[in-house]
Symmetry: C2
C-alpha cells in the first residue's frame, strides 16, 4: 500500500480486540514516532506505556471517552519534555508529527489507534495519578490495539476549501 492510501485509510479506532499487541509491535510504533522532525532536532516527545488493566481503567475515569481506553489493551501517554522544549507552539506541532508517525505505522502493521485529547481537560489529575515528574507534561493519550469491527469513515474538506490562495 502506498503512503497516500495509508494516510487516507487510517481511522480512529474506538473498539478493540482483547489480545495485546506484542512488544515488537509496540517497539515499531515508537520507532516510527521518534523519527518525526523537530525544531533544532530537540525531540521533545516522551512515552509512557500502559498495559496494566487497572491503570488503564483508572485513567479512563478522567475522560468522557473512557470506553475507548477500557477497550484498548494498550495506552500510550505522550508527554512533552519541558527541559527540552524551547518554543511551545513548535514543540506541540513536532509532537503532533510524532503522534501521526505512530498512528500511520500502527495502521500499516494492522493495529488501530485513537488519539485522545479530551482527557487533558484533567491533565493535573492524569499527571498526579501517573506520578509524572515536573519535567513532563502529558499532551495526548493514544489508545492502541487490534481493531474490532469497522471504524467510521470520516469526511474531509476539499483542497479548494483549505487553500487560501496561490501566489
Amino acid at each position: 500500500m502506498d503512503i497516500l492510501s495509508i494516510i487516507k485509510n487510517r481511522r480512529s479506532v474506538r473498539r478493540y480486540l482483547k489480545n495485546t499487541p506484542s512488544d515488537y509491535e509496540i517497539k515499531r510504533v515508537l520507532d516510527a514516532a521518534r523519527w518525526a522532525p523537530s525544531g533544532l532536532n530537540n525531540q521533545p516527545w516522551r512515552f509512557l506505556i500502559i498495559k496494566d488493566k487497572e491503570t488503564r481503567y483508572h485513567l479512563a475515569g478522567f475522560t468522557k471517552y473512557g470506553y475507548i481506553l477500557k477497550s484498548s489493551p494498550v495506552a500510550i501517554v505522550i508527554c512533552m519534555s519541558i527541559p527540552d522544549s524551547y518554543n511551545r507552539d513548535k514543540d506541540l506541532m513536532s509532537i503532533g508529527a510524532c503522534i501521526q508517525n505512530l498512528c500511520l505505522e500502527a495502521y500499516s502493521i494492522g493495529l488501530g489507534t485513537c488519539w485522545l485529547g479530551e482527557i487533558l481537560n484533567n491533565k493535573q489529575k492524569v499527571s498526579k495519578y501517573l506520578e509524572l515528574n515536573k519535567n513532563l507534561e502529558a499532551v495526548a493519550v493514544i489508545a492502541l490495539g487490534y481493531p474490532r469491527g469497522n471504524a467510521v469513515k470520516p469526511c474531509r474538506k476539499p483542497i479548494s476549501a483549505l487553500r487560501i490562495k496561490i501566489i
Copy 2:
C-alpha cells in the same frame, strides 16, 4: 518502500533543483495533508501556496534560514484557521500531524521538504506581507521542491531514552 522506511529516510532538504513541482504533485501533498486527524474533526489547517519568486525571496528576508526559501521553487505557508480552533494545544498538534503527512507524501513521490519554524519569530511581518486576514495565523512554512544533492542524515535518541516507564 514500507512506511517505516519512508518515515526514517525522509530528510529536511535545504537545497533544491530549479524545476518547479507540477500542480498534480502539489495537489498530492495537500491531499495527504488534509487527511490528518483533528479534535472533533475540526480540520484547522489552511494552505497558502507560493510559487512566485519575488514573493518567496521577500519572505526569505524574514528568516535566518532564508537561503532555503530562495532555493526551493515552492513554499507552502501553513495557517491555523482561528474560527475553527477550539483548543490551541490540540489544534497545533493536529497541524503538526498535517505537516508530517505532507512531508511524508512529498518524500514518497520524490520531492523534498523543509519545515521552517524560525520564520515565525517574524509572524506579524509575514502575515502583513502576505495580507493574511485576521482569521488566519501562520504557524509554519514548508519549502518544497526536487532535492539537490544529499541531505544530512540526522540522529535520534534511542527508544530507551524516550520511554518514561512501562506500567
